[in-house]
Symmetry: none
Subunit: 200 residues, 4 copies
């Protein structure tokens, strides 16, 4: 039995259920079936455990995000695919996302932690991907000529905000995937519908 992996699994579950700060390292050890000290043999810190969780999630997220936008004919379809992927990722990795959204904002403004660096990197890559899709969309005519960088921030904000509402808000959020896609499609489509464009 791999103790290192058992620790990660217990931690992911407990942190998601009870919160990082409300879960004691003793609980993690007990749930994983290892001695308390074993945690600190394998990971430097309590934070080290959660970093391992995030490192893995980040890697999977970025890899699959890249795949989701590849092999789509137009920029608009790439954006759409990306939105779909995000909705799917929320379903498969809700625990990791929940831990991150709920428990780490605090770290992000204060200390210069490894977490902060990871978030910064992930953010930058995601923004770059969105921006690239928009640029392609503008070139292939599927997207209106918007400021690609700023629009990337907006789409990223939209994804993040909906994720946050879904996982953390005390209000019940309905299924929005189709509507979000329609919303973005409408926002990004060239202003003049094609059937009219030809008549100009």
């Amino acid at each position: 039995m791999d103790r290192k992996q058992a620790i990660i699994e217990s931690a992911t579950r407990l942190f998601a259920e009870k919160g990082f700060y409300s879960t004691s390292t003793i609980e993690v050890a007990e749930t994983a079936g290892v001695a308390h000290g074993t945690l600190f043999y394998h990971y430097k810190n309590k934070e080290g455990i959660v970093l391992e969780i995030f490192r893995h999630a980040k890697k999977v997220y970025l890899q699959e995000l890249e795949i989701s936008v590849a092999n789509r004919p137009t920029g608009m379809e790439k954006i759409e695919s990306m939105l779909r992927f995000n909705a799917a990722f929320k379903r498969t990795h809700s625990r990791q996302l929940l831990i991150f959204l709920r428990d780490f904002p605090e770290k992000l403004t204060s200390e210069e932690s490894e977490l902060k660096t990871m978030v910064k990197e992930t953010n930058a890559q995601v923004l770059a991907i969105i921006s690239r899709c928009l640029t392609e969309g503008i070139e292939d005519g599927s997207v209106a000529p918007v400021d690609t960088d700023k629009t990337a921030y907006i789409i990223n904000g939209l994804i993040f905000g909906l994720l946050h509402m879904d996982l953390l808000s005390p209000v019940q959020v309905p299924e929005l995937e189709a509507n979000v896609i329609a919303f973005c499609r409408a926002a990004l489509s060239p202003a003049v519908p094609e059937q009219y464009a030809s008549s100009q």
Copy 2:
């Protein structure tokens, strides 16, 4: 000087700068120039202090939000005005928003606290306002015939996500106000531009 008010002011500043959980009640008392015990004479507990901060911010936010959408001719313009108001509120109440965004996600999924109730109420009201604006917009022709409830969630998510990025994300976010308005306007505008609509 009013001790009760001094406590709130110190707390707002310290919680915003250092985080709610990283600020001890003793620090709040010292900064406010009152004895430690005085905090608990005026407020039930540490959370009571932050609740007072939020209660006030909530009241101001909802009042001014209502005002911002009143007296606008069309639904679309109400939405626009609301977006503008949010950007302005972010500037005037960044500390309160920061405390809320950074430090309270934890409470929102776990306990059935007064905070949770407050957030639920505020959320519901904001969603209702947006939804109402959209309905009016559809009626007056300034907004495309969308599902008003779901679109309200989307717009709310967008606002929240951008707010979050701006205040908490380690990446530097550019000024997006005008772009956000353009984005939403494009997303919500009736598909057929007016000049063509008339020719149908």
Copy 3:
């Protein structure tokens, strides 16, 4: 009952008996009859407790050392009086001295602690006092013309070394007070005894 004082008294006893590092803060609290947390209300640290012990001992030591050398007619008699005072202080403050000699060498080479500063100051003052006595002794003819600064180091080293042996060495040290005085007197006396000096 003064809890702050009770803590100091228990700590002095326990640290002397068992050593600073082998005494837990819980033990100190229990012995003093206060809650564990009370230690940290009154003192910043475990180290803070021992610093308080030293601060007091330092003050008493330097004050009484000054008194012991005042009002002695010659420099040689001042030195003698100082040696006597040191022997007496060893008897009245053996616990404080023991704690210091046994448990703090470690701190003195590494960190830039308050303890280090205190030791440095005390050392400098003691050296200055000895040096001053020697200078006076040379002027009044009771002390041979030695290098006062270096000799002050030597006498200080002698005092310290004997103290250390007495309190810490596993060998049993006999009563040496009179012999030490004779030794120093011989070392410092002008080379030519007075009865012969006149015949020159």
Copy 4:
């Protein structure tokens, strides 16, 4: 490379630099380039490592100390030679002495350890050597008729105290070798200078 020796060398360096208690066994192993478990294969425990260091230093010290006093014509010259040797040993074995002076006082008052026995033995031998030199000096007329045992304690205390100041004190200690010799010579010389003694 000899693992056992590598461990001793790393330990000597680390213990001297960082202190025995602040150096973990894992650090010693890493620095020595051996596995953690290897330490406990070769030495019973952490203390066993330092005992090995001291055993060697003790042996060298006593051997060379004996040599330093042999073949000197008078008792006084033996004492002088011994003082010189101590100053030299301080230079060649500062690390071992530092570890001993700084980190082991604690052990010396409490447990009945092998270390305590070693110190006791060393101490007794050194005192015996000094005492013997003094006796010889008294017999050959180079030393005043002092109580040899007690004076041996005093000289030992002086050597130890100066060593301690030099290696551990936060104050900068000047070069004192010549002065210490002069001090002891003056203290031990027969009171009546020879030119007068003959005239009696």
